[in-house]
């Protein structure tokens, strides 16, 4: 019950969605950049 109340309060708060979006976007961004760094360095180092 308490958990449900916390979840309801969180999901009705726009900042929750904003922070989640920013976090997911940052993680995605870091993963993509890691991918690019691998592409750049791989042919140089075989």
């Amino acid at each position: 019950m308490v958990r449900l109340k916390i979840m309801t309060a969180l999901t009705s708060n726009p900042y929750f969605w904003l922070v989640s979006f920013v976090l997911i976007a940052t993680v995605l961004f870091v993963v993509l950049i890691a991918y690019f760094l691998k592409i750049i360095h791989e042919p140089c180092e075989e």
Binding site: V30, L37, P43
Partner: protein, 299 residues
């Protein structure tokens, strides 16, 4: 036999992985320049230099050994500038997924292209050598500038999804991609059709006593595939120098290495390339790819 082609599940997974990388990168490339190079550029610099310290020891070691006359403070400043450049270069590369040919043409200018055109009119094949300097991916626009075919000789990547991504951005403006192990056969077959073939020739080639040079104050094995190809096809060899201009555009300059490859002494072309690249690096060190493990094996 390609296992991806014959297995529908693997094929579906392959396309799914490609799309999961392609779509976010495409969207990233659509962001306005002020956001992409400004906010994201600074964020990426902060993450790579301050937080993750991406290959920081490699960068510092390479810089200290290659530029022994520089003080520690100068080396640190160059390493900071390098991380800024690397961040911008990655973001610029993401723009290549969506940028139009006309917009990219405005970002790249050519100098001394008349020399290349003269050799084209003499129906000579051209081999252009360059280093991992500046933003070499912007050379993908060369086919839109030049009236002849431009090939990029490349080493296939181990990951097929990464390979397809690179193929996509390199081939968007008409660049032909030739795997390094097929380059000689391809160029000999096309000998009578003047064209330009690009070689990035500063990567670690493996240990070979015959191709050892003093490069950036270190004993260095250099890749001599471009020299072998130019002698086999009697091609003109030119060096490509890429300079960042103050307005964040790039200037691509051509300079002659030799137009008589067959008459050169052994390793002369590779030596000349190494000297030219060294001069370019010393002029503006931050733009070379210092994070690659160029001297990972003592030679």
């Amino acid at each position: 036999m390609n296992p991806v082609k014959n297995n529908p599940l693997k094929k579906a997974l392959y396309y799914l992985s490609f799309l999961s990388v392609y779509l976010p990168v495409y969207l990233l490339g659509l962001l306005p320049l002020s956001v992409s190079k400004g906010t994201l550029g600074k964020m990426l610099y902060f993450l790579s230099y301050r937080i993750f310290r991406y290959r920081y020891n490699v960068v510092l070691q390479n810089l200290s050994r290659a530029l022994p006359t520089k003080s520690y403070a100068e080396i640190q400043q160059i390493s900071k500038d390098f991380y800024r450049h690397l961040s911008l270069m990655i973001l610029e590369t993401t723009r290549l997924f969506s940028i139009s040919s006309s917009s990219l043409l405005k970002k790249v200018t050519l100098s001394n292209v008349e020399m290349v055109m003269d050799y084209y009119e003499q129906k000579r094949n051209i081999i252009a050598v360059l280093g991992h300097y500046g933003n070499w991916e912007y050379l993908n626009i060369l086919p839109a500038y030049l009236p002849f075919n431009v090939n990029a000789i490349y080493k296939p990547l181990s990951n097929p999804v990464m390979g397809k991504l690179i193929h996509h951005i390199r081939g968007r403006f008409g660049m032909r991609l030739i795997p390094a192990n097929q380059a000689l056969r391809y160029l000999l077959k096309q000998k009578d059709q003047p064209q330009m073939s690009l070689f990035i020739a500063d990567q670690f080639p493996g240990i070979n006593e015959d191709t050892k040079f003093d490069f950036l104050h270190q004993s260095t094995n250099m890749f001599n595939g471009a020299e072998k190809l130019s002698i086999a096809t009697d091609a003109v060899v030119v060096y490509i120098d890429i300079k960042r201009k103050p307005d964040n555009c790039w200037e691509v300059g051509f300079s002659l290495i030799t137009d008589a490859a067959k008459q050169t002494e052994e390793q002369q072309i590779t030596r000349c390339f190494a000297d030219k690249l060294q001069e370019t690096i010393k002029a503006h060190p931050a733009y070379w790819l210092w994070s690659h493990k160029r001297w990972k094996v003592a030679v």
